[in-house]
Subunit: 243 residues, 2 copies
DNA sequence: CGATATTTTGACATGGATCAAGTCTAGTGG
DNA sequence: CCACTAGACTTGATCCATGTCAAAATATCG
């Protein structure tokens, strides 16, 4: 099958852990579900895992048994289609929850894999839900995190449904820029995204070829620069209008 | 693609119909947030509202101040674009939560309006969250409801990103069919959806013209029938394959 | 029964997909 | 240090699914 080129690009992003160029970093605070809670509760076993870039965290249909917070690195969740195409559902950044996208009945609705090397802190669902049912605050934090994810997903729906290729690419890059900013602070106009054009294609529902052309045009128009993971929003105002 | 993975399992909900052609119906139970709780808590004022078809429940950017359960009728949430197009984000069916799609900071992320006449049971956010923080079960139910919405949204993302017009239409109609079934029970192959081709177009990101052509073709191929809101899935197997 | 929305049909335009090379880059091994 | 290689990125030529515009047919409703 033609899967090869579409599925493996990640494997080549495998820059090693904890280097300055790559976005692997420690994370002290997690505003989604308090990691202190999370780590305390996960105390009945070794629950922090380090995984290499390209690792599969879970596959579509796997048992729905564990939730994680991503402490470091980037991951993605995606759905695979028979024709070999995949849709990237969301990019998972440090501090985000992952593993709640399933149900007891049907297992995980989507697969997840590490884009860079990652560090995960995970716990059994049974325990997670038990904790939720004991602690309203914890459950509320969880609900808020999921609401945030849902809002991102709805934005994505809007972009995919109504926008041109330009708009979808702009939308995605601006969103990622904002999320990275929110995590890292600072205001260097350049941010580092460990993704390539194939990721953008799979997230926006375009072909890599057309992503390339679209980026080229945006570059020529002075909207942004994106090369080897370095993203600079040159004209945020005009970009926002496009998005 | 396996149908099961595309369509989130919606736990079966209540029953009881009020008028035969129109989907307005009484609702005894709500598995998302227990309406008994909901109504009890909303006791400090008249909180059940009846609204006519076409009413605006809230607009994009409105204050984020109230959540509702939809007791009867259909509603939709949508995002409007400058060019006049709109993206329907989700269809809200009896038993669903509505009004949690926003944040204190930015207000409601999307607008909502009634498709049919609706009955809403609503309460202030402040009270809703207070109740959540006192009752883990309530908070958990809320979290589960939100998770279900997020999964529907992700399905929608996958459909919009990777599927042809046929696939998107099939996807939407099959999903709605299942949701209605889950609510109404029974197994009449025909279900009543109070939507028209324009709704389908706005939800799938197509033009009404092309929706029409697509439906015509599917009808000719013996896949389904959809006319004046009456939907019959003639060949669910093949439809699932298309979707 | 006229007025207004919805659905259907046709002719034509176009954004993006597809196919096919070619170039550039970062690893790898000698 | 260089040659080799496999991905990733570019570019060009061509095709087709879907959008756009226009108008007729049909349903809905006061």
């Amino acid at each position: 099958m033609v899967l090869g080129t579409r599925l493996s690009p990640i494997a080549s992003v495998p820059r090693v852990v904890l280097c300055e160029r790559c976005p692997i970093r420690r994370h002290g605070v997690c505003d989604q579900v308090d990691p202190h809670d999370f780590e305390r509760m996960a105390s009945d076993g070794p629950r922090v895992r380090n995984l290499a870039a390209g690792s599969v965290l879970f596959g579509e249909g796997d048992a729905f048994d564990r939730v994680f917070t991503l402490q470091a690195g980037w991951a993605l969740t995606s759905k695979l289609f028979e024709d070999g195409h995949r849709q990237i559902i969301r990019f998972v950044l440090p501090g985000d929850l992952i593993g709640f996208e399933g149900s007891e009945a049907t297992g995980m609705a989507y697969g997840a894999e590490a884009i860079t090397a990652v560090r995960l802190c995970g716990m059994e669902h049974s325990m997670f839900f038990k904790e939720c049912s004991c602690s309203p605050r914890f459950a509320m934090n969880y609900a808020e995190a999921v609401t945030r994810e849902a809002m991102l997903a709805w934005n994505h729906v809007g972009a995919l449904g109504q926008q041109s290729a330009r708009g979808r690419v702009a939308n995605l890059l601006v969103e990622l820029h904002q999320r990275v900013r929110a995590i890292e602070g600072g205001d260097d106009p350049a941010v580092w995204l460990p993704i390539n054009q194939t990721h953008i294609a799979d997230a926006t529902g375009m072909t890599p070829v057309h992503v390339c052309r679209t980026l080229k045009r945006m570059r020529q128009e002075g909207l942004l620069e994106f090369s080897k993971g370095r993203l600079v929003l040159i004209d945020p105002g005009r970009l926002a209008a496009v998005a």
